[in-house]
């Protein structure tokens, strides 16, 4: 009998192939480890009744955040997202995690400030970044935009 390649305790019953950067890594996991590694309902299992002891074969590609390039497999190790866009990139996978901890999977309560004010804050932030990067052409544009926005709101 083959043991789970992760915990080495329980029998390996889920044959998995993880594709990391184009390379196929084969492993055999127990049900518990397979589930905690994200091989769950989202992943299609192909039944392979012929091979005794091993019930499923699954193939999963690591998913990456397009913005910060964090891989979901890496998130599973650290528990940390890499940037705000990770929330969209990994949306399919975090539902279960959040449901396990919180009473809901939707935010309830206030957001950041009034909308007009938020635009202004964004512009001010971009301006400070442009000044910091010594991109004074862009800084001048932003300064004018902020000036216009302030005048409109008065």
């Amino acid at each position: 009998m083959e043991y789970c390649s992760k915990c080495q305790k329980r029998p390996g019953e889920v044959k998995c192939v993880i594709v990391v950067k184009g390379e196929r890594i084969k492993c055999c996991l127990c049900h518990e480890c397979a589930r905690s590694a994200g091989f769950s309902e989202q992943i299609k299992f192909n039944r392979k009744p012929k091979s005794p002891g091993i019930r499923f074969i699954a193939e999963k590609r690591d998913v990456f955040c397009p913005n910060c390039k964090l891989g979901f497999s890496q998130f599973l190790q650290t528990g940390l997202f890499g940037c705000p866009s990770c929330y969209n990139a990994f949306e399919k996978f975090i539902g279960d995690i959040l449901k396990g901890i919180h009473s809901a999977t939707y935010h309830k309560g206030r957001g950041p400030g009034k909308e007009g004010l938020q635009d202004l804050t964004h512009l001010k932030w971009k301006l400070s970044e442009a000044v910091f990067a010594e991109d004074f052409e862009r800084a001048a544009q932003l300064r004018d935009e902020i000036f216009r926005l302030k005048k409109d709101s008065n």
Binding site: A104, K108, G111, H122
Partner: protein
């Protein structure tokens, strides 16, 4: 460097008591916020962290001009530990000081950690059980910063945090509690499991085992998604009242059923305090907390009051002890601890 600014006595907010101080040492509200479109600190390299720190500080320092600013990579590791020992900085600055910063208010009841686990993390504390004031004041800081920097936010997940388990309100309410009665009556596991069901975590403040009654525990809320701030505040207050009630009942119970055992334990503590020449770190914590109970239950006369017993807990920690009594190896420290503790006892009884 920081010794001249922060004497090793405790900040006033932590050493002057407060409501329900016999059970609750302090209450804190902690917000986590990140900047829209920017990678979290764990994905930034040293250079990027330092650059980002500079622009972030530039944007918020005016709002926080009453705070003192420390770049944590220029602080010595014992300075960082010193701040953490007295609850004046987030623990993350111990592990990841590079490119991070600490804003600290004069009275040390408010801090803001920059580039720690998230871009911004800030705390307001009150002595005792007054979480409402702590929360309201933290919210004022949150709403002031909101005008200076664009927060990462989505209507579905709320405020976005590096740990997806903290998104939503990204607000945590936290208490430091002393519950020897609950532990002595074997109520700890019960209490912990009960709290967990309502989304609250109970864990020891230090690395001590759970079995002894001489501990301070942290209780903190863990629900951030699907609950709004006022609801969270209400349920945290309810939960805290329950803990306080439980602890008082447990104390009344043991004082009626096992008074001589408790008195024995605490009077032995006084004996150690008076005569011991070496007190190790853990023993020091246990001793301080036994005396804290003794003072609260009027077992030890006026040998030591509850404020001094509380202070004993903090000054027995390694960096505070070294600042008060001098550097040295472990034996020197343990000897110094015994001598320092002895000085806390009132003379002449």
């Amino acid at each position: 460097m920081i010794e001249s600014i922060y004497p090793p006595k405790l900040p006033e907010w932590l050493s002057s008591g407060g409501e329900d101080f016999e059970v609750v040492l302090a209450s804190e509200a902690v917000y986590v916020r990140n900047i829209d479109g920017k990678a979290f600190p764990n994905r930034l390299n040293e250079m990027e962290l330092k650059d980002f720190r500079r622009s972030l500080v530039g944007n918020i320092e005016n709002t926080l001009r009453a705070f003192k600013l420390w770049e944590t990579d220029i602080l010595r590791s014992e300075d960082r530990r010193f701040f953490v020992e007295r609850f004046s900085a987030p623990v993350e600055i111990l592990e990841r000081p590079i490119g991070a910063a600490l804003f600290l208010s004069e009275d040390e009841s408010k801090w803001l950690g920059l580039n720690t686990s998230d871009h911004l993390q800030f705390r307001v504390a009150k002595g005792g059980s007054d979480i409402e004031t702590a929360y309201r004041n933290a919210r004022i800081i949150e709403e002031s910063l909101e005008n200076e920097v664009p927060f990462a936010y989505s209507s579905r997940y709320g405020f976005l945090t590096s740990r997806p388990t903290e998104c939503g309100t990204a607000l945590v309410l936290r208490f430091y509690v002393h519950i020897p009665g609950v532990i002595f009556t074997d109520g700890f596991i019960n209490l912990r499991d009960k709290l967990l069901k309502s989304g609250t975590v109970l864990r020891p403040l230090n690395d001590e085992s759970l079995s002894s009654e001489g501990h301070i525990f942290i209780v903190h809320t863990a629900h951030t998604l699907g609950i709004d701030e006022e609801e969270l505040l209400g349920s945290a207050q309810e939960m805290l009242d329950e803990i306080i009630q439980m602890e008082y009942e447990a104390r009344a119970d043991i004082m009626s059923k096992a008074r001589s055992q408790i008195e024995n334990k605490i009077m032995r503590g006084i004996g150690i305090l008076t005569h011991a020449r070496i007190i190790a770190k853990r023993e020091g914590y246990a001793l301080a907390n036994a005396l804290r109970l003794g003072a609260a239950e009027s077992i030890i006369g006026d040998a030591i009051d509850i404020l001094s017993a509380t202070e004993l807990y903090f000054v027995g920690q390694p960096v505070h002890l070294a600042r008060l009594t001098g550097e040295g190896d472990e034996l020197t420290a343990d000897t110094n601890r015994a001598e320092l503790f002895r000085s806390y006892l009132k003379q002449g009884d």
